[in-house]
């Protein structure tokens, strides 16, 4: 009888909290993921171009940026932005701080993916482009990048899915995304095991949908890739 009561209580808590947590996901986790992934991609693109531009100061800046943001933990970066910067007079709200932190971090990682994809394009492609009179910039834009983008779709897709999960770190700087919401309910109900399993399940739903979208995208890009 005691067991039944307990089970009933848990089921009650889980079903009461499911939609609030899901809502936190839709209101914070999903926008945070989409915004930072897009901004991070733009940043990554320019960083990759800077890295291979051959223009010394640009190369140096790009290298330095990647070095810093790949070499330090994301959690520490978020803390510096949110808890550290106020002491020099820069105060960011939690959500913008999270966007900034994730963007800078993702930008650094993704720039390496894009750079590798550009470098993996066979030398013969550059030469063929030059041989029909293209400039370096034209060859890059018309011949190399379209191929590099196709090559980088799978690894970027993977990093997108890991970003969905990484956004749970935003809870540490008080963004009420899914994980934070789950924590609140867990603390109030003293049912951490079931609550966190529920949170994990919702993350799993999100990443499953995204994996599916990723494989559709890959199939579309797969049509005409260089061997």
């Amino acid at each position: 009888m005691v067991l039944d009561e307990r089970a009933e209580r848990i089921i009650g808590i889980l079903s009461d909290s499911f939609f609030p947590i899901l809502k936190a996901g839709l209101y914070f986790t999903v926008p945070l993921t989409l915004i930072t992934f897009t901004l991070g991609l733009i940043l990554a693109f320019f960083t990759a171009i800077a890295r291979i531009s051959g223009i010394k100061p640009l190369v140096a800046i790009a290298k330095f940026y990647v070095w810093i943001f790949r070499g330090t933990p994301l959690l520490v970066q978020l803390f510096i932005l949110f808890y550290g910067l106020p002491s020099v007079g820069i105060t960011l709200d939690p959500f913008p701080a999270a966007v900034l932190g994730f963007t800078l971090n993702k930008g650094a990682y993704s720039s390496e993916i894009i750079r590798a994809a550009i470098l993996s394009t066979p030398k013969g492609q550059w030469e063929a482009a030059y041989s029909i009179g293209m400039t370096r910039a034209q060859a890059m834009r018309r011949i190399i990048l379209p191929q590099a983008i196709r090559v980088s779709v799978p690894p970027l897709g993977n990093s997108f899915i890991s970003l969905v999960k990484d956004t749970s770190l935003a809870a540490t700087i008080t963004v009420t995304e899914m994980f934070q919401k789950g924590q609140q309910v867990a603390a109030a109900t003293y049912e951490p095991l079931w609550l966190y399993i529920e949170v994990a399940f919702i993350y799993l739903m999100f990443s499953t949908v995204l994996s599916y979208a990723q494989s559709m995208l890959e199939r579309r890009f797969d049509r005409s890739v260089a061997k």
Binding site: A128, S131, M134, K227
Partner: protein, 247 residues
């Protein structure tokens, strides 16, 4: 049409071209033969500035370039010089993300600023010429090697170059596909295209060349008409090479 004077090229310590002098007249075909590593590819690549010579001069059409060690060419100087030549690569190097017709249009639209319609018309004409009209909308990987190489030739032709350069255009092909590519090249030669062809196809050289150039260890060891090289030559290096190829 082409004139090379005292051309030198080295990679680090290795001297690859050691004073090349060569002239090819308008409308003529020069076939370059010689053992592996003798510098044939390097010579062609110098002609369209994929490699920058260390010394000497290259004249193509009205444009002359002088080289000294440390010569830095301006990008627009390079592209305008390059536009005079078309290059056909051993490994085709078609653009895999573009269809056959787009491959041929690309340079016309991007470099020559032709309208899409005009570029497309020209591309389809060229495809008809190389016998691939029915393949216009396929992607390169859907074609055989011989077909890809014919697209490569059409792509180079589309830019209306003064000179076509071929670097072993058939040596990546299965034997039964070699003929179709050589046929296209022979037609071009007969139409009066100026061509420099590096090849191991001795029959083609004998048949089509106005001038055969035998390269050995970075120099032109001997040059002359096909008859002078293949039949009358007394140069021991030439004979040794020809025997090896005839094998």
């Amino acid at each position: 049409m082409i004139k090379l004077e005292n051309l030198y090229k080295s990679f680090g310590d290795i001297d690859v071209l050691k004073g090349i002098n060569l002239e090819v007249e308008k409308g003529k075909t020069a076939v370059v033969i010689g053992p592996s590593g003798s510098g044939k590819t390097t010579l062609l690549r110098c002609l369209n500035l994929l490699e920058i010579p260390n010394q000497g001069s290259i004249t193509i059409g009205e444009k002359e370039l002088q080289f000294q060690s440390g010569t830095k060419l301006k990008p627009n100087q390079m592209t305008s010089f390059r536009q005079q030549t078309g290059m056909v690569f051993q490994s085709y190097n078609l653009f895999p993300h573009l269809t056959v017709v787009e491959n041929i249009m690309e340079g016309q639209v991007v470099v020559l600023k032709r309208s899409k319609a005009e570029a497309k018309k020209r591309s389809l004409d060229l495809l008809a010429k190389v016998g691939l009209s029915d393949r216009a909308d396929m992607y390169p990987h859907q074609l055989s090697g011989g077909q890809q190489q014919r697209v490569g030739i059409a792509r180079a032709m589309a830019m209306d170059p003064k000179v076509l350069l071929f670097d072993e255009p058939t040596s990546a092909l299965d034997p039964e596909l070699v003929g179709e590519v050589l046929k296209v090249m022979k037609d071009l030669a007969e139409e009066g295209m100026t061509m420099v062809v590096v090849t191991h196809e001795m029959e083609f050289a004998r048949d089509v060349a106005d001038q055969v150039i035998f390269m050995d260890q970075g120099i032109i060891a001997e040059k002359g008409t096909p008859e002078e090289i293949f039949t009358l030559s007394t140069n021991p290096r030439t004979q040794q090479f020809l025997n090896k190829v005839a094998r």
